[in-house]
Symmetry: C2
C-alpha cells in the first residue's frame, strides 16, 4: 500500500468513525478540504481524494460551492432505515403523507378519514363560540395533568355503555389518539421488544412501532378477530410485550371482534402477562356495540384509547387513555416530561360538541349516509371485479380483493399518476402478503372519475 493511499484511508476512517459515533450527523458539513488537510497535516489533494471516495460510496455528498455534507442515509432514527425500504406505494408513511398533503379536491378513496363536510361542523362552530364566551381559565390556562374533569367524567359515562368501568381518575386526556398510543408505547416498550399487531392493521401502527425500534409480529385477522391459534403460537414463540389492536370496527377489514374471540385473546394475554392497547377511535360509528377487550379485562392489562378526529373534527386535537389504575401516575409523569401540560381549550370544545343534543342526530345521520355510500360503492367496485372480503356492519371501510392478475401497489402507483390516491393492501400488512387487496373508503368514493381511472388501470 502506497503512503498516499494510507493517508487517504486515514481521512476516510476518521470521517466514518465520526459518523458511527454520531459526532457527525446527517446534514453535518464536513470540515473544508483546507481545514481537514491542516488538521491531519496532509496535503489538500489527499483530503480531496478521500472526500471523493466517500462521496462515491454515498457516505457524503457535495453541494457545489458549499462543501461536503454527511448523507441522509446514515441517519440514526430515520424511520425509513429501521426497517427495509418498501416501494413508496406500500410505505405506510408515504400513504399518510399523501393523504395529508393532497388538496381537498383530490380523489382519495384510499384516505382513512371522512371528507370535511361529513364531520360535525355545526357542533364544532357552536363549541368554539361557547368557549369564546366562556371562562378565562379555559381560554388561557394549562389543564390539570389528567385534563378537563368534565370531559373525563363524560368519557367514563360513555364507556359504561360499552361495559367498561373506569373512574375519571383513570382517564387521561392526550393531544390525539396517536399520541395516546405513542405515550403508552414509550412507557411499556424498550428497543428490541416484540409487539403483536393484526395483519392487516391500521398502517400507522407500523410507522409508530418503527419509531420505537421494536420487533413486530403480525397475526392474521379473521372476520371475528385475530386468528386465536396463531395468536397463541405467537405468544409462545415470541414472548411479546404488547398487542395493539382496533376495537369494534377493525381497520382496514371492517370486521367485528366476536365475544368468543375476545374472551380467548384476553385469556391468552392474561396468562402470558401481555399488555394490550385497544384503539377504539371508530366507536361512534358502531350501530350495535361489539365486545370490548377493556370491558372483559376490567382495565387490568388493557389500555383503552380513543379520540374525536373521525367524528367531530380532525382539526381539533384531543384523545384519551383509560388506563389500569396502577399506571396512571407514571403515564402522567411521562406526559408532563414530554409534552408538559395539556390545554383546556380543545377539551372544552369537544365537551361542548359531544353534550350538545345535535351530536346524536349527527351520528345517526352519519350511519345512514355511510350505509348508503356503502351500498352505492359495492356495485361500482363489483363491476370492476373488485370484491369485499366481508360486508362490514358499519364504518367507512371496505377491504377488497382485486381481480386476478392485479397487484395493489402497481395499481396504486398507476392510479396516483392519474390523481387518485388508493391504499394498497401491503401498507397494512406486516407479512406483506396483501398484495391483491385494497382498502376503499366509501365516504371518499362517490366520484365517477375514480372508477374510470380504476377501469383504465386494471389489468
Amino acid at each position: 500500500m502506497k503512503i498516499g493511499s494510507t493517508r487517504i484511508e486515514v481521512v476516510i476512517a476518521d470521517v466514518k468513525a465520526k459518523i458511527a459515533t454520531v459526532i457527525y450527523l446527517p446534514g453535518t458539513r464536513l470540515p473544508s478540504v483546507r481545514a481537514a488537510a491542516k488538521n491531519h497535516s496532509f496535503s489538500p489533494s489527499t483530503v480531496v481524494e478521500a472526500y471523493e471516495r466517500l462521496q462515491a460510496d454515498g457516505v457524503i455528498y457535495s453541494r457545489p460551492g458549499a462543501g461536503f455534507y454527511v448523507a441522509e442515509s446514515t441517519l440514526p432514527l430515520s424511520l425509513a432505515d429501521i426497517a427495509p425500504k418498501l416501494d413508496r406505494a406500500v410505505d405506510p408513511l408515504w400513504v399518510s403523507r399523501q393523504s395529508l398533503e393532497t388538496s381537498d379536491n383530490a380523489l382519495k378513496p384510499g384516505c382513512g378519514w371522512l371528507p370535511p363536510d361529513w364531520l360535525y361542523e355545526e357542533g364544532m362552530r357552536r363549541g368554539l363560540r361557547s368557549v369564546a364566551k366562556g371562562s378565562a381559565s379555559v381560554m388561557s390556562e394549562y389543564a390539570t395533568p389528567l385534563g378537563l374533569l368534565e370531559l373525563r367524567q363524560l368519557l367514563t359515562r360513555r364507556m359504561v355503555g360499552l361495559g367498561i368501568n373506569a373512574e375519571p381518575s383513570q382517564v387521561m386526556l392526550t393531544e390525539s389518539g396517536t399520541q395516546a398510543i405513542d405515550l403508552i408505547c414509550r412507557f411499556l416498550l424498550t428497543p428490541g421488544d416484540t409487539v403483536v399487531v393484526d395483519d392487516p392493521c391500521y398502517f400507522n401502527f407500523h410507522a409508530l412501532l418503527k419509531a420505537h425500534r421494536v420487533k413486530v409480529v403480525g397475526v392474521p385477522y379473521t372476520s371475528t378477530g385475530p386468528d386465536v391459534d396463531v395468536f397463541a403460537a405467537v405468544l409462545d414463540e415470541h414472548k411479546p410485550r404488547l398487542y395493539i389492536t382496533n376495537a369494534a370496527i377493525h381497520n382496514p377489514t371492517g370486521a367485528t371482534l366476536s365475544p368468543a374471540t375476545a374472551y380467548k385473546v384476553l385469556q391468552l394475554a392474561q396468562s402470558a402477562g401481555l399488555y394490550i392497547i385497544e384503539d377504539d377511535i371508530f366507536a361512534d360509528f358502531e350501530i350495535t356495540p361489539a365486545t370490548r377487550l377493556a370491558a372483559l379485562d376490567g382495565l387490568s392489562q388493557v389500555f383503552y384509547i380513543g379520540s374525536f378526529s373521525k367524528t367531530l373534527s380532525a382539526s381539533l386535537r384531543c384523545g384519551y387513555i383509560a388506563a389500569p389504575t396502577a399506571w396512571v401516575e407514571s403515564l402522567l409523569d411521562l406526559k408532563i416530561a414530554t409534552g408538559f401540560g395539556g390545554g383546556q381549550l380543545a377539551a372544552a370544545v369537544v365537551l361542548s360538541a359531544l353534550t350538545d343534543s345535535g351530536y346524536r342526530k349527527h351520528m345517526n345521520a352519519m350511519h345512514l349516509r355511510l350505509a348508503k355510500a356503502r351500498s352505492q360503492t359495492l356495485p361500482r367496485l363489483a363491476k370492476l371485479g373488485i370484491v369485499p372480503c366481508l360486508l362490514p356492519q358499519a364504518g367507512m371501510f371496505l377491504w377488497c380483493q382485486l381481480p386476478d392478475g392485479n397487484n395493489a401497489a402497481e395499481l396504486a402507483n398507476a392510479c396516483l399518476a392519474k390523481g387518485v390516491l388508493l391504499a394498497p393492501g401491503n401498507v397494512f400488512s406486516q407479512a406483506q402478503n396483501a398484495e391483491h387487496f385494497m382498502r376503499f373508503n366509501v365516504a371518499q368514493a362517490s366520484d365517477a372519475r375514480i372508477y374510470e381511472v380504476l377501469a383504465e388501470s386494471l389489468d
Copy 2:
C-alpha cells in the same frame, strides 16, 4: 437447605425472573396461590410463604381479597427510577405537577408561567370567534404535515427580526414547545448519549431527558451565557450529542446570552459536531433582542423552537421547530408516526391573535407590567434577605440567593405546608449545588401572604 426452602425459592425466582424479563409488569396480578401451586406442583403453603417473602421485600404487594400484584417500583420506564430519587421538593416533575394541579387561587411564586389574566384573553376570544365563522376546512381537517402555511410564513417573518433566516418549508408546527423539543430528542438521541444543559436550567429539561435515558452534563450559566471554558472542557471529555438551552431570557436566571459567548459556544459546537436546541419561548418578553445561536448558525446545527403558551394562552397547544433543511423530512415522518396530522384549529387561532393589531399593544403593556412587578417584588424579597443574583432585563423570573443558613428545598417544603408553592434551586440544577437559590416569578408574587409565609419559614 431444606427442600421446603428450595421450593419456596423456586417460586420466588420464578416471579423475579418474570419481572426482570418484563413478563410481569407493575400492577400485574400474580397467579392465585392455588393456581401457582398447581403450576409448580407445590403445596399452596409453599406459594403463600414465597409470596409473603416477596411482599416483605417490596417486590409485590397484596390487596385484601384481590390477590397479589407486582409493585410499582419495578416499573421499567418510571421516570423516578431512571435517575436517583430526589427529595420530592427538588424533583422537577413534582414542581410541574404541583404547579399544574394547584388551584387558580393558590399562591405560587414558584410557578413558571403568568397568571391567566396576564395573557392575551381578548385576542384569544377574537381568534376563536373568527375561527368559529371561518372555513370548514380549518374547522374539520387535518393540517398538512408541516402545518398551516400562513402561520409558518408569519413565524419566518418574525424570525427575520431576530436575524434568523428560515424558509416556511423549514418550519414545522408541533403540539407544544415541549413536544417540539421531545421530537428533536427522539430524532437525535439514543439511550446512553450525553446531553449538555445549562446549570441551572428549565427543570422540565431534566424530566424530558430522563425519559430519553441519556446522560446529562451541566455547564454553569453565567450572566452572559454558559461558562465557555467549562463548555469546551465538557465537549472534550464527554463528546455530547446535543446541547439544550434557552434563548434570550434564560430560565431560571433571567440572564441574557452575550454575542461573544454565543459566538464561542457556536464555534465549539460546530467543531465538535454538537447539535443545539435553542428554546426561545420567552422571545416576546424581550425588549431589546439578544443574539440568537440560530441566527449566527444559519440553522445548520441549531434547531430553533418556540411556542405561544407564555404570551397568548397555555390552553391552546401550538409550538414550532425551525430546523436545518436536511432534517425536515425525517422530523415530519416522526411527527406523523407518533402523532399523525396536526390540527389547523390551534394554528388558526394563534395566527389570528398574533396578526391582530392588539397583540403588540398587549405585549408592550406586559413589558411595563412585568417591570413594575419586578420593582415591587425586589424590595419585598430584599427585606427578607433574599437577593437576586442579577437584575434581568426582561421576563418574569428572579433567580435569588437565600439568606445564609437557609436551604431552599427545606424552605419550599415548609412554605408548601402553608399553601405557598416555591421553586427551589436544585430542581433546576444538574449538579445539585443550587440549594441556596430560589426562582421567583414576579407576576405570581404580589400577594402579601407570600412574604408572611416566607418570613415565618426562613431561619
